[in-house]
């Protein structure tokens, strides 16, 4: 290899450079790590300078419940896709803590701009999971009112929403309120021009926005080191605002870090980049096959850092939850899964003319004319015999006249 050859993704040295740490060795003081962690993978509560959570017993239990229910929605949706009820599904498996921790850090008036994988944040914003399924079933393009729960539409063109979040935050500044905004995106989107432009705008206007990057290590098949040569949280430094890396599988740390970043934003200290270091335990979407590009051993290693298991251990160890509580959450999850399944199966296809709705806020003559023409066209079949009314043994239509 000559000196000018590009370093191939997957090179261990390159990987080490973007990791900046591995998960710290068990005997290392957590404070030495670059990773904010308040709950170890074994469920031990640890301290990290500058970040803390002081929750009631009920609040700890509520976070656990969120994690379990969110995963259950995800598992059910994946099953529904496999059974042909959804066209596609983007699983959040493994990212529950990053989403619940950040989602629960938001105040009601704060605004969230999600990507297409933020089902856990949607849950925290009280968005009906069936609304999300409608997008993946193909009966809507989202279709919810973002102002309803302060949860914007899913963004599919990755990174585009970070600019919307920044503009919204600039609006908050003009309004003079103390609301804040959170923009979700991933390690892949961190390469997008829009994300970098959002960093510039947010920095120069000091906009109250938190850039919440879930680094789940994979952008479909491309590993992190194909997106960056430095740890992602350090990107913000060049734009002039702080960045912090949090254990994205630790719901307590994610909550603490996001809450602080939002508080900084609302108190006029401008944007923060939060890199939630996590792992996409599932495929990119149900259409993806991760066995083509990553090793099973990697997944096995991350399973030991599962966000739900560590919270469960924590609750057990601190006698905050026992079999009754865990059983009760499981039962609730079963109920939720049944609700999701039933609602999905009952979701009817929209009427054809719905395709013409809401193209414009004000009447547009071309759309109106095309709608009318298509309605007439459909109407022209009204007198035709429905196909399912034909007897099964009937000759093909037109067969007689062909004789």
């Amino acid at each position: 290899m000559s000196g000018s050859d590009p370093v191939p993704a997957g090179d261990p040295a390159l990987r080490a450079a973007v990791d900046d740490f591995a998960y710290p060795p068990a005997d290392a003081p957590a404070a030495d790590a670059q990773l904010v962690q308040l709950l170890t993978p074994e469920g031990e509560r640890v301290d990290y300078p500058g970040y803390s959570v002081d929750l009631t017993d009920d609040e700890y239990r509520a976070l656990y419940r969120d994690l379990v229910l969110v995963r259950r929605i995800d598992v059910e949706a994946t099953a529904l896709q496999r059974q042909g009820e959804l066209g596609i599904w983007a699983s959040l498996l493994g990212q529950e803590a990053a989403q619940v921790g950040s989602g629960r850090a938001l105040r009601p008036n704060d605004m969230a701009f999600p990507t297409y994988r933020e089902h856990g944040v949607a849950w925290c914003r009280d968005v009906d999971p069936l609304t999300l399924l409608g997008l993946y079933r193909g009966v809507s393009n989202g279709g919810w009112d973002p102002a309803d729960k302060n949860f914007h539409l899913y963004a599919i063109v990755i990174g585009s929403q970070t600019l919307h979040a920044t503009g919204y935050a600039m609006g908050i500044q003009k309004d003079g309120t103390d609301d804040a905004v959170i923009a979700y995106f991933g390690d892949g989107a961190s390469s997008q021009g829009d994300v970098n432009e959002a960093f510039v705008f947010a920095a120069v206007y000091n906009a109250p926005v938190v850039f919440f990057c879930q680094n789940n290590q994979w952008a479909i098949s491309e590993p992190l080191e194909r997106q960056t040569r430095i740890p992602l949280y350090q990107r913000s430094r060049g734009f002039g605002f702080p960045g912090v890396r949090v254990d994205g599988n630790d719901v307590l740390a994610t909550l603490a870090v996001t809450r602080k970043a939002l508080d900084d934003a609302r108190s006029g200290q401008g944007p923060t980049l939060v890199e939630a270091y996590t792992y996409r335990m599932g495929a990119h979407t149900t259409s993806d096959d991760p066995t083509r590009y990553r090793l099973a051993s990697e997944l096995e290693a991350w399973k030991l850092k599962d966000p739900i298991e560590r919270m469960k251990s924590f609750l057990y160890k601190n006698r905050l939850g026992g079999p009754d509580f865990f059983g009760q959450v499981e039962a609730e999850a079963d109920e939720l899964a049944a609700y999701v399944r039933k609602g999905c199966l009952e979701m009817a296809d929209p009427e054809p003319l719905v395709a013409f709705d809401h193209v414009y806020a004000e009447e547009h003559p071309l759309v109106a004319a095309e709608r009318a023409a298509y309605a007439d066209y459909l109407e022209s079949f009204a007198d035709a015999l429905p196909l399912d009314a034909l007897p099964l043994d009937a000759p093909p239509l037109g067969a007689e006249s062909a004789h």
Binding site: L163, H164, V359, Y360, P365, L366
Partner: protein, 324 residues
């Protein structure tokens, strides 16, 4: 009544819109202290403050993307794209985000964003400063596209675009910025999304918009010498197209020539020709002809007089049509 240039008329229109609605913002590169490279926003930052007339970082996608966010928050941003050829970095934000949000949200998110684009050639500029990208936007559902051709329209159309609840791509004929007309702000304007017959005639119809309206008018005057009476229609709105005045005219004249600076291939002229063929087939005495830029990149400016349709090329097309 005052005599104003087209640039000044836009400036006055923007000022009026900002005075009427405190949610109206102006964003763009050099729109503040400098007043825009064409001075269209001259003096507005001084009078309305940096909070409402915002000099942005030099990033077009960022300008439009943050304007979308501001609109979601309830503002009515007017973005200036400095030159036509600089709009493409914002293309995703315009075509995938701005245009589709209302549809995707089933009508709950309105994005009343105006994107002003000085367009077209004729000022001897270097490359990427003389383009006519209107067809890209007119092709996109969810956007409205208009082009003003004169100071009076500029004054009213910019205000009407700002009050529209849909995103509007607002094309300004940059080589006409310095043309003057008498403006009476008290006159009630016609609707924004309407074409207009600007010169009646009997023998042939010429449809144009933006900077080409002046060329079409001059051609019509010149044609009088040859005994040809040409009706000129200023299209004004490119999405939606307002075809009724065009159909009405073609049914009377039987001849149609469409003129634009943009390349002819898959341009607005193609759509207009197709629709006129559908609606006025038996009135047409000749095929619809198009006069436009070449299907080349915009050439070096020393060649732009060849590229840009002028009076002679318009008359040539009219005569070819009338001979048929």
């Amino acid at each position: 009544m005052a005599t104003v240039t087209l640039a000044k008329a836009l400036n006055e229109g923007l000022r009026q819109a900002m005075e009427t609605d405190s949610k109206v913002l102006i964003m763009g590169e050099d729109v503040g202290k400098l007043g825009g490279v064409f001075r269209v926003t001259d003096g507005l930052q001084k009078d309305f403050g940096e909070d409402r007339v915002i000099d942005t970082p030099l990033a077009e996608s960022g300008i439009v993307g943050t304007a979308i966010g501001l609109a979601i928050r309830g503002y009515r941003p007017v973005c200036e794209i400095q030159f036509d050829g600089f709009v493409y970095p914002a293309y995703d934000q315009i075509v995938s985000q701005l245009a589709k949000m209302h549809y995707r949200s089933k009508g709950s998110v309105k994005l009343p964003v105006v994107i002003r684009i000085p367009f077209g050639g004729g000022i001897g500029a270097v490359e990427h400063h003389s383009e006519s990208p209107e067809a890209y936007f007119a092709h996109t559902a969810g956007l409205r596209v208009v082009a003003c051709s004169n100071p009076v329209d500029a004054y009213f159309m910019i205000q009407q675009a700002i009050t529209c609840d849909d995103p509007v791509i607002f094309f300004e004929p940059k080589r006409r910025y310095w043309e003057k007309a008498d403006l009476d702000p008290a006159v009630a304007p016609g609707p924004l999304f309407a074409s207009r017959v600007v010169r009646p005639g009997a023998h042939a119809t010429v449809v144009a918009y933006g900077p080409m309206v002046r060329v079409a008018m001059d051609a019509a005057t010149a044609a009088e010498d040859d005994g040809h009476s040409i009706e000129v229609i200023d299209l004004r709105t490119l999405s939606p197209l307002d075809m009724a005045p065009v159909y009405d005219s073609v049914r009377r004249t039987g001849h149609l020539v469409v003129v634009h600076e943009a390349p002819v291939n898959v341009g607005l002229g193609a759509e207009i020709a197709a629709r006129v063929t559908e609606e006025c087939f038996y009135s047409l005495q000749a095929p619809v002809l198009r006069v436009g830029g070449f299907d080349t990149p915009y050439p070096p400016s020393r060649l732009e007089e060849d590229y840009l349709p002028d009076l002679d090329r318009v008359l040539d097309a009219v005569e070819r049509s009338l001979r048929l």
